[in-house]
């Protein structure tokens, strides 16, 4: 019987920790723990991390934070399961001595880390998880979220189809929380945008295993005027190809969550459907603000690739963190939390503030139409939808969020 605890790799970290004495305070980096699914969700997470490093270098080159201290992100894979993520979070806090946590991709992972942060009374800045629960029913004092959640993005699309004539709608969404709650939000808000509209079909294929032929057949059979799609990734490619061949999208309004993001649009290639109303990001069409343009150029120059939506999110997150550290000017958790609530940051997409009421960021996203240009998918008529206009109403937040 052996129980081995392998000697830790953390010799370097230990050395750094030893240096963390007041005498060296000027040069001591401020460490922030960033955990994400770098291995399993690499298509999102690697461009995200690239941009974070870019932003971190920019901040440090401009003199660092909190009066000249460099900031240092400590990146860790979260293993893509809540169990692994909570252990990694613990490691970041206890071994790496990070000031607070940021990151996560999957909603269940984000929620588990959020509750862990609440239990340990440490700040957690969730970046990518889209579930509404993280700021609503399961929100807590120590957790903030940067990206617009499922509700906000669905609402942006609902606004985009306000007044359209399509009455009969079909929904297709992956069978898990994100898909189900997007579908539920859409159903709830549809009648308001298009009076008299009804849902005539719903399909919930298992995530990553869509049986595209059967799903497209079932949707077409209900003869909808409009389709609301929540599929993404490999499921989306299969669905679009099948739908194109079978003519599912012809003469129909199609509304689709996230499809305009380069992560999901690039794999559609020359099969990109024309005129879907989507949320997303088209870096080649961004002209303003100038800082955003500069970010795109800098990213291209350093990584020889166009930024993804993940990259934008990573950059904005680091800007918010730098601003937070400067404003709070301490690493004490309660002070950080108080400083972050309501904190307004001037980012590359303009002002982003963290609403104090529900800890939701006002970062927005772009709403536009898909189009095919030189054999590649992109967006046209894209406009930036500021998240501040699409948040849950204060009454809804008060009803859903547990009292602080």
């Amino acid at each position: 019987m052996t129980r081995i605890t392998l000697p830790r790799r953390a010799l370097g970290a230990a050395a750094l920790a030893t240096l963390a004495r007041p005498a060296f305070a000027q040069a001591t980096p401020i460490r922030i723990g960033e955990l994400n699914s770098y291995s399993r969700m690499a298509a999102f997470a690697v461009p995200y991390r690239n941009a974070m490093q870019l932003a971190q270098d920019a901040v440090n080159a401009a003199g660092g934070v909190m009066g000249g201290r460099p900031m240092e992100l400590v990146f860790r894979d979260d293993g893509s399961t809540p169990g692994d993520a909570v252990r990694v979070a613990e490691e970041l806090l206890t071994r790496e001595n990070v000031a607070f946590l940021a990151g996560t991709f999957l909603s269940n992972v984000g929620l588990a880390v959020a509750d862990f942060a609440n239990q340990r009374k440490r700040l957690f800045l969730a970046t990518e998880p889209l579930t509404d629960a993280i700021t609503m029913a399961q929100g807590n004092r120590y957790t903030f979220r940067v990206r617009p959640g499922t509700y906000m993005q669905t609402k942006m699309l609902i606004e985009a189809i306000r007044g359209k004539t399509a009455k009969r709608w079909a929904i297709v969404a992956p069978n898990y929380e994100y898909g189900q709650s997007a579908a539920a939000n859409f159903k709830r808000m549809l009648g308001d945008a298009i009076p008299g509209a009804e849902i005539v079909a719903e399909q919930f294929p298992a995530l990553g295993r869509v049986d595209a032929g059967a799903t497209v057949g079932a949707l077409a059979q209900s003869r909808p005027d409009g389709i609301f799609n929540v599929l993404f990734g490999p499921d989306l490619t299969a669905f679009v190809r099948e739908g194109n061949t079978r003519g599912l999208f012809e003469r129909r309004t199609v509304v689709s969550l996230l499809t305009g993001e380069p992560e999901y649009l690039i794999p559609l290639g020359d099969e990109t459907p024309e005129g879907w109303i989507v949320t997303g990001y088209a870096p080649d069409q961004i002209d303003a603000p100038p800082a955003h343009k500069a970010f795109i150029e800098a990213y291209k120059a350093r990584f020889n690739d166009t930024p993804r939506l993940g990259s934008l999110l990573g950059y904005v997150t680091v800007q918010i963190i730098a601003n937070l550290l400067n404003k709070a000017n301490t690493l004490e958790t309660e002070a950080l939390v108080n400083a972050l609530a309501g904190l307004a940051t001037d980012t590359i997409v303009g002002g982003v503030s963290m609403r104090a009421l529900d800890h939701q960021g006002t970062l927005g996203t772009w709403v536009g139409e898909t189009t095919l240009s030189r054999g590649k998918g992109t967006m046209k008529n894209a406009r930036y939808a500021d998240g501040a206009n699409y948040m849950f109403s204060e009454t809804e937040v008060r009803a859903a969020r547990p009292p602080a």
């Binding site: 081995i4 169990g83 909570v86 269940n108 588990a112 399909q203 049986d211 497209v216 490619t237």
Partner: protein, 617 residues
């Protein structure tokens, strides 16, 4: 509903069935001959798709002809076949003499390695393949449009079936495959070169998987999650059809394809669980699948793979146990994080020992042990979150929840044996997973539930560590005691020869059922402790990856030993914890170390320790 729609929906189902059959036929042939549960089959499928999206566009540069498209598809399949040969010659051939289950662990290592290698070679983005020239369009059938390529796919399945039939009945290689599927030992005794036969079989199996993947490129993009999305369904098809039976796999694929196509019309959310419901139903009625037969060797006395003689602990074992215990208790002296990892190792050690109580002692190979672990966690977590009870009663409820679930599922499971039993446990685990996943109002769905924290007195990491240590060690000692007791010996008797055990008056099913329930309860306790150490519960606790982790732990530790799984749990969890922060490619490193350990310690850590002890000084 109009007839034209039903017809087209049926055609959609046939196209999926056909694709599924091509993949599953390879899996069933490999299993039939080598008895290897080849997890890497899904990886071959993924490699087929990635190779095809590389080779086919390159060929189409010369000429956009259908011929070149299919040349590219076949070339991809052949390359994947060669990779299968490489896996057989470099890895599997070295471990044919160790317990069969061990090969499963090796193929699992291959899965992890391929996942990362694919990402290194092709990058993380999904890669769309070209459509097949000449088959891009839709064909109008009655008033519905249907993809021409899918009509072609419908033909591929029966064509592959016919070719396989010819191969099996008209060539010497095929005859040998059939013979080995029926009785491998006899084939060996008759002087057939088994190494060649196995290499050939792996080539055929991998090439079929590669073909299945390559044929999908006009429909889906090559992506890094393809392997796991297809492997469970392929297993289900082979099991429903009867392991080793190619026609059986064909019928099973048809059943699943059609059920899926029409099932989504009535229950749109059923896709998650449909295939597993079907598998459970088939196995309960037909224990060897539709066209499978009981193994010829089933009645033969074979050397059992498991605990032979639990024996007494010798002085070296005692020293090791005491040292390990001391290290466990001294962890708080190192740092807070070491305590955290130590707590988890203890919990996994209990789960692993409970699994080996079934596998090593009872010969009941469970591929779904995480179900009881997870249901224990849910039993405890729901009491805390929904009923507002404190930790103490919730921890009592955890083993009860795990035990009850094991009693319910075990009632059906213990009627089966071998690989079918294993697959039924997996089916039940997936059904439990689907219930937890879908019953959002109670379980919180896939987001899970948070707020499962220990009572105030046990809130600190150190106190919770000692609490876990007391409970898990008590449970492990108890299970060890049971293995030494007459009950444990009875389970071993039933494992080694059910008929003989029956003949001396042992109620084999009743004993195995009780054993199954006890193991489920122990896993449930581990699950409850795990929930409180994490503060949250979610469906991944019941998932297949968790079950595979447990299997890896007992195989690494050694299934012939009572306490080996404890070492396995410590080694596996420490490895994962060591590699996870190092690099994005932790799966590659984890996979490589699993394979290294399989090759270096072919009887597990405990087996290595035992042979070290036996060597004359």
């Amino acid at each position: 509903m109009e007839w034209s729609f039903l017809l087209v929906q049926a055609l959609s189902g046939l196209a999926s069935a056909s694709s599924l059959f091509v993949i599953a036929s390879g899996l069933t042939i490999v299993f039939g001959v080598t008895r290897i549960v080849n997890f890497a089959h899904g990886s071959f499928y993924m490699l087929g798709a990635y190779l095809a999206v590389t080779i086919v566009p390159w060929l189409l540069e010369f000429d956009r002809s259908p011929t070149l498209f299919f040349v590219g598809v076949l070339a991809s399949a052949l390359v994947v076949g060669l990779l299968g040969v490489a896996m057989e010659m470099l890895l599997l051939r070295r471990i044919y003499r160790v317990p069969e289950l061990f090969q499963l662990l090796a193929t699992f290592g291959v899965v992890l390695i391929v996942q990362d290698l694919v990402q290194l070679a092709w990058g993380p983005m999904d890669i769309p393949g070209p459509r097949a020239p000449g088959l891009r369009h839709g064909v109008t059938i009655l008033d519905q449009r249907f993809p021409a390529y899918e009509l072609f796919l419908i033909v591929v399945g029966p064509a592959v079936l016919a070719l396989l039939w010819l191969l099996m009945h008209r060539t010497r290689f095929g005859v040998l495959i059939r013979a080995a599927t029926q009785d491998r030992e006899m084939v060996g005794a008759l002087g057939v070169n088994q190494a060649m036969l196995f290499t050939g079989t792996l080539f055929l199996g991998a090439a079929l998987a590669g073909l299945g993947g390559a044929l999908q490129i006009p429909r889906i993009s090559a992506n890094a999650h393809m392997d796991l999305s297809v492997i469970t369904e392929a297993f289900v098809v082979t099991v429903i059809g009867g392991m080793g039976s190619v026609p059986g796999a064909f019928i099973a694929a048809l059943l699943i394809g059609l059920l899926q196509a029409f099932g989504v019309l009535i229950f749109p959310k059923i896709t998650l669980v449909l295939v597993f419901l079907l598998m459970a139903a088939v196995l309960v009625v037909k224990p060897w699948g539709l066209l499978g037969r009981p193994e010829a060797a089933a009645g033969r006395a074979v050397l059992p793979e498991g605990i032979l003689d639990p024996g007494r602990m010798d002085w070296a074992g005692k020293v090791l146990a005491v040292v390990a215990l001391a290290v466990m208790l001294a962890l708080p002296l190192i740092d807070a994080y070491a305590v955290k990892v130590g707590t988890e190792v203890l919990i996994f050690a209990l789960a692993a020992v409970s699994l080996n109580f079934l596998v090593g002692n009872g010969g009941i190979v469970s591929f779904g042990h995480a179900a009881y672990f997870g249901l224990g966690a849910y039993g405890a977590g729901l009491l805390v979150v929904k009923a507002g009870l404190p930790m103490e009663p919730a921890l009592i409820a955890a083993p009860i929840a795990g035990g009850l679930a094991a009693a319910l599922f075990g009632f059906f499971v213990v009627r089966l044996s071998g690989i079918y039993l294993a697959m039924l446990t997996m089916a039940f685990a997936q059904i439990a997973y689907a219930v937890v996943f879908q019953w959002v109002e109670v379980t919180g769905g896939d987001n899970g539930l948070v707020g499962v924290w220990p009572s105030h007195w046990a809130a600190s990491r150190e106190v919770y560590h000692y609490l876990t240590a007391v409970l898990t060690l008590a449970a492990i000692v108890f299970l060890r005691r049971v293995i030494h007791a007459p009950f444990g010996a009875t389970l071993r008797a039933a494992r080694d020869s059910a008929q003989r055990a029956d003949a001396i008056g042992i109620d084999v099913r009743m004993h195995r059922w009780l054993g199954f329930t006890l193991a489920g309860a122990a896993a449930g306790l581990a699950g409850g402790l795990y929930a409180f150490s994490k503060g949250s519960i979610d469906p991944t606790l019941l998932g297949i990856p968790m079950s595979v982790d447990f299997l890896s732990m007992i195989l690494l530790g050694g299934i012939q030993s009572v306490l080996g799984p404890v070492a396995g749990a410590a080694a596996f969890h420490s490895l994962k914890d060591f590699f996870l922060p190092l690099t994005d490619h932790w799966r590659l490193l984890l996979g490589l170390s699993i394979i290294a350990m399989v090759l270096v310690f072919p009887r597990g850590l405990a087996g290595a320790f035992a042979s070290l002890r036996r060597r004359p000084a």
